[in-house]
Structures are given as C-alpha cells and as structure tokens.
C-alpha cells in the first residue's frame, strides 16, 4: 500500500480558522440563551447554531468535504432513517393526550415557568419535580 492513498492532506490554517469559528459560535449560543427569546425562536436559533458547528466539524475536521461519495451516501441513509424515527415518534407523542393534563404541554411555554429545582436549593433534600417553582423574574 503506497503512502497516503486515501488519507486527506491536512490544512492547518483551515483547522485554526474553524477552531476560531467554533469558539465564536459557542459564545454566541450561550449569549443568545441569556436573551430570553420566546422558546420556539430560542430552540430554532440554538439548533441552527449547533447545526453550523456540527457541519464545520464534519466538513473540515472529518474531511467530509472532498470525501469519496460513498460516505456521504451512507450518512444520508442513516440520517433519513433517524429523521423518520424522530418525526414519527414526535408526531405520536404530540397527538396523544395524557390523562388529567388535557392537551400536552406545548413547547411555547417560557423557560422560566419550569418547575424544576433551581440551581440553589437551600436544603439537601431531593428536589422533587413537584417542588414549587422559584421562577426568576423575566
């Protein structure tokens, strides 16, 4: 086997640039989450940023950009089935109605209305999900 028959030629400058971009997007997504956007927008934005970051890693670090066509094909196949699984299960989850609560809680509720224990409960007792909410002001 001769040397470097299917390995990719590294491009260090590009790697550094991607690194910078990844750091920037990490900062951005944390900053955005502090803005208290309405939840649907926050989720959309968060996932978009994550998608960009993942795309950069896959395309540059994993050399997917310029890889033999077979590999993207495999990944597209897997992604197709993954999306099917997610979509069908979510459709089923959303259309179903759990008893006593009426329609399922939809995702447009504001994050602060959550009833989880806050990061600073006073007692060490297990914070049950039913513990009273301690919402911060908007």
């Amino acid at each position: 086997m001769e040397k470097h028959n299917d390995e990719h030629r590294p491009n260090v400058k590009l790697y550094i640039a991607v690194f910078a971009a990844l750091l920037f997007f990490t900062g951005l997504t944390v900053a955005v989450s502090r803005l208290h956007l309405p939840r649907p927008q926050a989720i959309a934005l968060g996932l978009t940023i994550a998608g960009i970051k993942a795309g950069l890693v896959a395309a540059v670090f994993m050399h997917l950009w310029g890889e033999k066509k077979l590999i993207p094909k495999i990944l597209i196949g897997a992604a197709f089935f993954a999306v099917t699984l997610i979509v069908i299960d979510v459709l089923d989850g959303v259309w179903l109605t759990p008893q006593d609560t009426g329609r399922m809680a939809v995702a447009d509720q504001h994050p602060d209305e959550g009833t989880a224990p806050t990061a600073k409960p006073t007692a060490a007792a297990p914070a049950a999900p039913a513990a009273p909410a301690a919402p911060e002001a908007k």
């Binding site: 994550a50 670090f61 911060e136």
Partner: protein, 196 residues
C-alpha cells in the same frame, strides 16, 4: 497470517477498510443518538413543565467543557497533520494534549455530577434529570472509549514498527473521526440540555 493476505489490494471503493468501517460505525452511532434525542423530544413535549438549563444545571461549567472538547477536536486533527508529515514528536505532543483535554472534560463532568449528587439530585429526580444523566453519561462512556483508543495510538507511536506501519496514519484518521463525532454529539447535547 500476514497482513497483505488479509488486506486485499483490490478495494473497489477507494476507501480503506478501516476508514469505511469507522464511518459505518458512526452511521450506527447516528442512529443511537438519534434515538436518545427522540426520547428527549418526546418526553419534553409530553411533560407539563421542563426546567431551563440555567436554573437546573451548571451552564458555565458546561460551556467550559464545550470549549475543552472543541479544543481537543483541534488538537487531534493537528496530531493527524503531524502524523501525515511523519513528525513523531509533534504527533506525540498533540496526541498527549488531546488526552489531557479529554481527561479535563471528564474531571469537569465529575465536578458537575458531584455537585448535583450533593444536592440530592439524581437520575430518578425527574424525567429531565433522567434524560440529562443518561445522555451525558452515555456521551461520557464514548469519551472514555475515545481515551482508550487515543492512548493506544499514543503508545504505538513509541513502538517503531507500529509507527512505521503504513496503516498507522489511517488508524489516526479513524480515531480522529470517532473523536470528532463525539464532539459533534456534545455540540448538540450542550444547547439541548443546558441552553434551550
């Protein structure tokens, strides 16, 4: 058994066995994590309330971890670049740095878990924490797997015949692919659990 008898030179795809194998493995990993994210979405949508990461978890630590993991992705690709140029010292340096960063990630994670446990929060506390602990835990197991592979490569760079094996670079690339995938999973886990 000699290697050339097994490595059939006539590979139709033009992709080495090792690389193709790693990519197929990653395809199955995509399905694994897709399932976990399905669980996350379904449980979240059916929950009457869902805590916000800033209230329930330690976001600064997680941000630190994100930076650590992204950096380790860069260091491993730098290690690959050094191996490509047959620079064994450079390779060892970058690989060691990758390992240091991955241990750093685990240590930070351990602090996070420890803090949560000390407050009496565990996987059984609520569905949110069940999802959080399971997903980050499985991700952590993947990190440990990566540490094992990367340590093996670092060790092999000290063994002459391994370093000079023409398959070595392919192995580094395969390990890198896996490591980047683990990074990508975290890139999605971080906003999903902590920020949104």
């Amino acid at each position: 058994m000699n290697a050339t008898a097994i490595e059939n030179p006539d590979t139709h795809s033009g992709i080495s066995n090792a690389k193709l194998g790693v990519w197929l493995f990653l395809a199955s990993e995509v399905m694994l994590f897709a399932t976990l994210f399905t669980t996350y979405i379904v449980l979240r949508l059916s929950a009457t309330s869902w805590p916000w990461g800033w209230d329930a978890l330690n976001v600064p630590l997680a941000t630190l971890n994100t930076v650590i993991l992204i950096s380790s992705s860069v260091t491993i690709v730098m290690a690959y670049a050094r191996a490509y140029d047959r620079d064994v010292r450079g390779f060892r340096l970058w690989m060691a740095l990758t390992l240091a960063l991955s241990f750093g990630f685990l240590i930070v994670k351990a602090f996070e878990y420890g803090h949560e446990f000390s407050m009496g929060i565990g996987p059984s506390t609520s569905v949110f924490y069940a999802v959080y602990f399971t997903m980050t835990g499985l991700h952590g197991i993947h990190i440990i797997g990566g540490i094992i592979v990367n340590s093996a490569l670092l060790y092999m760079s000290f063994v002459k015949e391994d370093w000079e094996n023409p398959l070595f670079l392919g192995r580094v690339e395969g390990a890198g692919l896996y490591w980047h995938f683990v990074d990508i999973v975290w890139i999605f886990l971080f906003p999903a659990l902590y920020l949104l």
